[in-house]
Amino acid sequence: MWAVSIALIPAFVASVTFFGPRALAVLAVGVLSCVLTEAFIQAFMLKKPVSVSDGSAVVTGLLLAFNIPVSIPLWMVAVGGFVAIGIGKMAFGGIGNNPFNPALVGRAFMTTSFAAPMTNWRLPLVFDGSTGATPLGIIENAASTGMSAIQSELPGYFDMFIGNIGGSLGETSALAILLGGIFLIARGLIDWRTPVFFLGSLAAFTGIFWGIAPESYADPLFHVLAGGAMLGAWFMATDMTTSPMSRNGRIVFAVGAGLLTGVIRLFGAFPGGVSYAILIMNALVPAIDSHIRPKRFAQGALHEKA
């Protein structure tokens, strides 16, 4: 799991660069609250050896902090970390047994509990770090206002790619996420199919609507770069424990998450949909695992017999 933390370093650097020193504080509280919650539960409630040195609670803490705005009060981050590990992971039996991505459980809890602070987005420091909408927030009503009316408010693709936009701490820089993701693929720690099919199906779904009515919908490249799509596709949908075991299963999982993200973004009440899309697909993993099995050796002959 430490390798995943290493892969998160570029996004870490990007978040501190764009959102300033307060990002460090949010990240520190996120990691500490997750690690301490796990250690406390293991040592005092389960009375088992403490296993925080496996690095997985650190990853959960980092991902949780990456998914929230820089301006959030720190005590809320601590509550989020406690929920992520305590309810999202340890309540199910700890590492390997949690059905939902713990960081996303923490984030979902915070979104519903602290709705206003969780959407108090800040722009990067180069824009004074003032309050401002995220790209997805800007286009939320594009269907009624028309894309051309809001075009001037939208950041350019280059800013979206390097992360010079408003949003959660670690989700804005596609470049930083990509660097970490390539590292994970090179180390054989994630299956390339998950991010590729996730982002591919998101692009295909949003592309259809954009193709039909470009005046009302943003283009697929925008959707891939905006919001949590990159972070979700590379670092959260690829979580081993909460994704399917077979290659084909992972493709189904990724396509489902990509499509659901598109549906929520275009038609849902929230501007962003990545975290709920992944949580919904997490819930379907047992069904995917029991129905989408790996290809057997001499599969063709099995079918002939049947």
Partner: protein
């Protein structure tokens, strides 16, 4: 691009440290212990008794059933007793103990090194002779070779596949045999090709043995039917189904034998043994054994008389290193740790491997983190993590549904598991239980 099998597999370091050591005959010991059950199937029945004089190559135990194999004395001397001996798994088996006197061979056996190329026998006579010579698969499973060549009615073969893959790390016995006895081995392949009644024979060799590929490609040019296939390195390519897939592109269905897709598979060591029996009348009484390990002073390939103790082989390779944690019969992937070094080398003993203590401990078992590594490395497309769960919960029906019996125990899953889970151990339990239940159903 060289061929290989398409799904699963791993790339363990090959550690072929004995690859340059020529095959040397091991001194005949003072006593040999020849087990009566060295093969898959019924143990042979002894036809000698204590006090009998025997010569090397003389029949001492006869086949007992359709799947069984003759056993010959590997030495000349006096039968001391017929008694139990442990096999590599630790189970007791009957064996003939012979006190060695000189080295006299039974009549008709040609021990000269003259190459005899001309094949005079026909199919039936060859298969009969293979049976008489007690020849079994030398790659590890020790399945009686003649049985493979009795083709069931309604099936036809068109390709003989010869296994020169030796994908187990450390082992070099087949590699050395291909280099040093290429001519004999090729005649053996030709004999097996005639016995199978096919035109084509393919010898599959992995790319880490370029010298063997080059030599056999050159030498096989004079045999119209024999081709050499250079295979991309990947474990477990030596497994029958994976090898057939790599060499011919055909897939043997679940629960079926190679003949289903028109193939028979034999090891290069078997081809050599067939040559010795069919052309020179020498039954299977000796084999090449790799004796190796990182700390072994003289990693070697010995030509060993069957029945020689493991201890004698280890002594000849420089003795047991002090830091040895495990002695493995066979290779590190599929071999098994032996508890007693006085056990004898049998027809299926391809290697004796001494692992240092640090490499002999099992990793601590941690929670399954559902990483899916076991699923992606399984060459049969099984779900080892699930089979483990079923085996732990005694859910044999579910394990059977998820094709536990397709597992050929290559161990890729246990090797790949980052949590050190003993996946294969549980799958073996499940396989045993499923087979017991099938037998029980069949007998009802």
């Amino acid at each position: 691009m060289s061929k290989t099998f398409p799904m699963g597999g791993i790339h363990p370091p090959d550690t072929k440290i004995s690859a340059a050591a020529p095959i040397t005959p091991l001194a005949i010991p003072a006593e040999v212990v020849i087990p009566l059950g060295q093969h898959i199937g019924a143990p042979a029945e002894a036809i000698v008794k204590a006090g009998d004089k025997v010569k090397a190559g003389q029949l001492i135990a006869e086949t007992a059933g359709f799947i069984s194999a003759n056993i010959h004395s590997s030495v000349s001397g006096t039968v001391k007793k017929i008694d139990d001996v442990a096999d590599p798994c630790g189970y007791s088996k009957k064996a003939v103990y012979i006190t060695v006197e000189g080295d006299e061979w039974a009549e008709g056996i040609d021990r000269s090194s003259t190459l005899k190329k001309e094949i005079t026998l026909d199919r039936e006579a060859i298969v009969e002779k293979i049976k008489a010579g007690g020849i079994v698969g030398m790659g590890g499973a020790s399945f009686p070779t003649n049985v493979k060549y009795m083709i069931p009615e309604g099936k036809t073969a068109d390709t003989l596949v010869i296994n020169g893959v030796e994908c187990e790390p450390y082992l070099t016995a087949d590699h050395r045999l291909m280099l040093e006895y290429a001519d004999e081995m090729l005649v053996g392949v030709e004999i097996l090709r005639v016995a199978l009644g096919v035109e084509k024979a393919v010898i599959g060799i992995e790319e880490n043995k370029p010298d063997a590929i080059k030599l056999l490609t050159e030498k096989s040019a004079e045999y119209a039917g024999i081709t050499v296939e250079s295979l991309h390195m990947q474990y477990p390519q030596g497994a029958e189904k994976q090898l057939i897939k790599a060499c011919t592109g055909r897939e043997v269905p679940s629960g079926k034998l190679p003949i289903e897709v028109g193939c028979a598979v034999n090891n290069v060591g078997t081809a050599y043994a067939v040559y010795q029996m069919v052309q020179k009348n020498q039954p299977l009484v000796e084999r090449v054994v790799t004796v190796t390990g990182k700390q072994v002073s003289k990693p070697s390939n010995f030509l060993v008389r069957i029945g020689t103790s493991y201890a004698a082989c280890i002594e000849a390779a420089g003795g047991l290193p002090e830091d040895t944690g495990k002695v493995i019969s066979g290779g590190p992937m599929m071999g098994m740790a032996v508890a007693d070094l006085s056990i004898p080398v049998a027809k299926g003993t391809s290697g004796i491997l001494m692992l240092p203590k640090a490499e002999s401990v099992r990793p601590e078992v941690e929670h399954c983190i559902r990483c899916g590594a076991c699923v992606s490395v399984c060459p049969m497309g099984l779900e080892p993590y699930l089979l483990e769960k079923f085996a732990r919960a005694d859910k044999w029906d579910q394990a059977e549904q998820r094709a536990a019996t397709d597992c050929m125990e290559c161990g890729c899953c246990s090797y790949a598991c980052p949590s050190g889970r003993p996946l294969l151990d549980y799958i073996r339990i499940a396989k045993g239980e499923i087979n017991n239940r099938r037998r029980a159903r069949a007998s009802q």
